[in-house]
């Protein structure tokens, strides 16, 4: 059985004797060797064929080793090929310079066969591992992209347009996939089920837990379950799931577009906020509550708010209120109040966009930590 060709090497060496010698060694190790007698030829060959490694003589007439290195490092398609430079033993300064430029290792001439094999094997192994790593990362990114698209597709595509009301919403996940969710679900008698939630954790596990919770809540809404009972039911189900260390904060409620009241149940989530026609913000009164997915006897905060004419009901996640800047200051209630006051003339979608802009400005260079979600409902 023929032995497998281990790798494609490019040997750049102007001296014939050295080419013969090293070529002999390398071919003895089952490498496929291509020879270049100078830098120019080396560069021509590099763009024509794929090589696993280059052995480069530093001192050659015409184009020398540095120039070859320069060209290779500047080319993104060639940059990852490991380069071992060869030189006389009195040229260590040049060697150091080459390594600073990006060469991976060096060999002194006359080349010792044992060292040649050792250095080449080491470099090839490293390259092999880097290639695997790169392929794995690319695959992961593709999978995350699919997960993100799947997740984004389950959120409401279009918000409803009931008479006398206008809806706006915006969700920006912190990572490729998020843990926040929201929905507006049609119910009987001109009422709408509104929900917003936030799963602890981020990334793929949170996204999966989020999808589950969200589906459970939706099915409760379709059965016209009262908000507090819905939370209790879903809590019960999640506890049966045994999902380690994950829980969800939820705010769900029913908006009655005839009575203009929003009756809600809150489990650990931020309380809703009302902005009146003049731009004054007020939060709903709070009573203690717990997130779902942890405790058997769930503590729920039940409340009811009226939405005044030309007023806006806002539900949001802590990606808004806890967004920090470089000084670690949160985007707190005061700031929120100011922004909402400025926005009071804008429509709900515009309000959501403006809020996102403000939160981003506030954060500055700090990377987004939490999913940002806002749901704005105006009583026209």
């Amino acid at each position: 059985m023929p032995r497998k060709i281990y790798s494609n090497l490019l040997l750049v060496e102007d001296d014939k004797l050295n080419r013969m010698l090293m070529g002999q060694y390398l071919e003895g190790e089952d490498h496929q060797v291509t020879f270049a007698v100078n830098g120019r030829e080396a560069l021509e060959l590099l763009v024509k064929q794929p090589f696993d490694m280059v052995l480069l003589d530093i001192e050659m007439p015409e184009m020398n080793g540095y120039q070859v290195l320069n060209h290779v490092m500047a080319d993104p398609k060639l940059r990852d090929i490991p380069i071992i430079v060869t030189s006389g033993v009195d040229q260590l300064e040049s060697v150091v310079r080459c390594i600073e430029m990006g060469a991976e290792d060096y060999l002194t001439k006359p080349v010792n066969r044992v060292l040649l094999k050792a250095r080449i094997d080491a470099s090839l192994e490293k390259k092999h591992l880097r290639d695997i790593q790169k392929a794995t990362l690319q695959r992961l990114e593709r999978e995350m992209e699919i997960a993100r698209n799947t997740q984004m597709s389950i959120l409401p595509e279009k918000l409803p347009n009931p008479i006398g009301y206008e809806f706006g919403a915006l969700m920006i996940p912190a990572r490729a996939v998020g843990g926040d969710f929201y929905d507006v679900i049609p119910m009987q008698n001109e009422r709408w089920g509104i929900l917003i939630g936030d799963v602890t954790d981020k990334g793929l596990p949170a996204a999966l837990y989020m999808t589950l919770t969200y589906s459970l809540l939706r099915s409760e809404a379709s059965r016209e379950t009262a908000p507090d009972q819905a939370l209790i039911n879903v809590n019960h189900y999640l506890l049966g799931m045994n999902a380690a260390n994950m829980f969800v904060t939820v705010l769900c409620g029913i908006l009655d577009t005839k009575s203009h009241k929003f009756d809600y149940a809150r489990a650990g989530h931020l309380a809703p906020v009302i902005v009146d026609s003049k731009g004054n913000m007020r939060s709903a009164a709070l009573q203690q509550s717990q997130p779902i997915g942890i405790f058997d006897n769930l503590m729920i905060d039940r409340g009811s708010i009226s939405i005044p004419k030309n007023g806006t009901l806002l539900l949001f996640s802590d990606g808004v209120s806890e967004a920090v800047n470089e000084e670690d200051e949160q985007f707190d209630e005061e700031r929120l109040g100011l922004v909402l006051r400025e926005c009071s003339a804008l429509n709900p979608t515009e309000i959501c966009n403006k809020l996102w802009q403000e939160v981003q400005d506030h954060g500055g260079l700090v990377l987004q930590q939490d999913d940002f979600t806002v749901l704005a409902i105006r009583h026209k």
């Binding site: 102007d14 001296d15 004797l17 050295n18 010698l21 003895g28 006389g88 006359p110």
Partner: protein
């Protein structure tokens, strides 16, 4: 003269073991021919006062002779390379002559070692 033809047996025998006598002979053939060319180059360069060509030829001669274990010869070639780099061709004349005179005896010595049995 004797000193300049000295060959490091360890280096040479390793080559012999790695490549076998036949390929080694081929290598030596190339070495001798190429070295003569380098020496001619150096001669011409000296006459023309061309330090660059002189240096380059000396450099190659140094590398290749060291490869075969001709340490003293290689060291002399290195000295000439250094002088060439400095542009000091005048000071090179005498040493170059020594190198030139040692070359043929060196080549003979190498060929003898190639054909000699290992247990000398």
């Amino acid at each position: 003269m004797n000193l300049l033809t000295k060959i490091d047996p360890h280096i040479f025998n390793t080559l012999k073991l790695d490549f076998g006598e036949d390929f080694l002979e081929e290598l030596l053939e190339t070495f001798c021919n190429d070295s003569n060319q380098q020496l001619e180059s150096m001669q011409t360069a000296l006459e023309e006062g061309n330090a660059e060509d002189f240096t380059r030829a000396a450099h190659t001669l140094k590398s290749t002779s060291l490869t075969f274990g001709a340490s003293a010869f290689g060291a002399l070639a290195r000295e000439l390379e250094m002088l060439g780099r400095e542009g000091n061709l005048e000071a090179s004349r005498e040493k170059f002559q020594q190198l030139y005179d040692a070359s043929e005896p060196l080549f003979s010595e190498l060929k003898d070692m190639c054909h000699a049995s290992e247990n000398l």
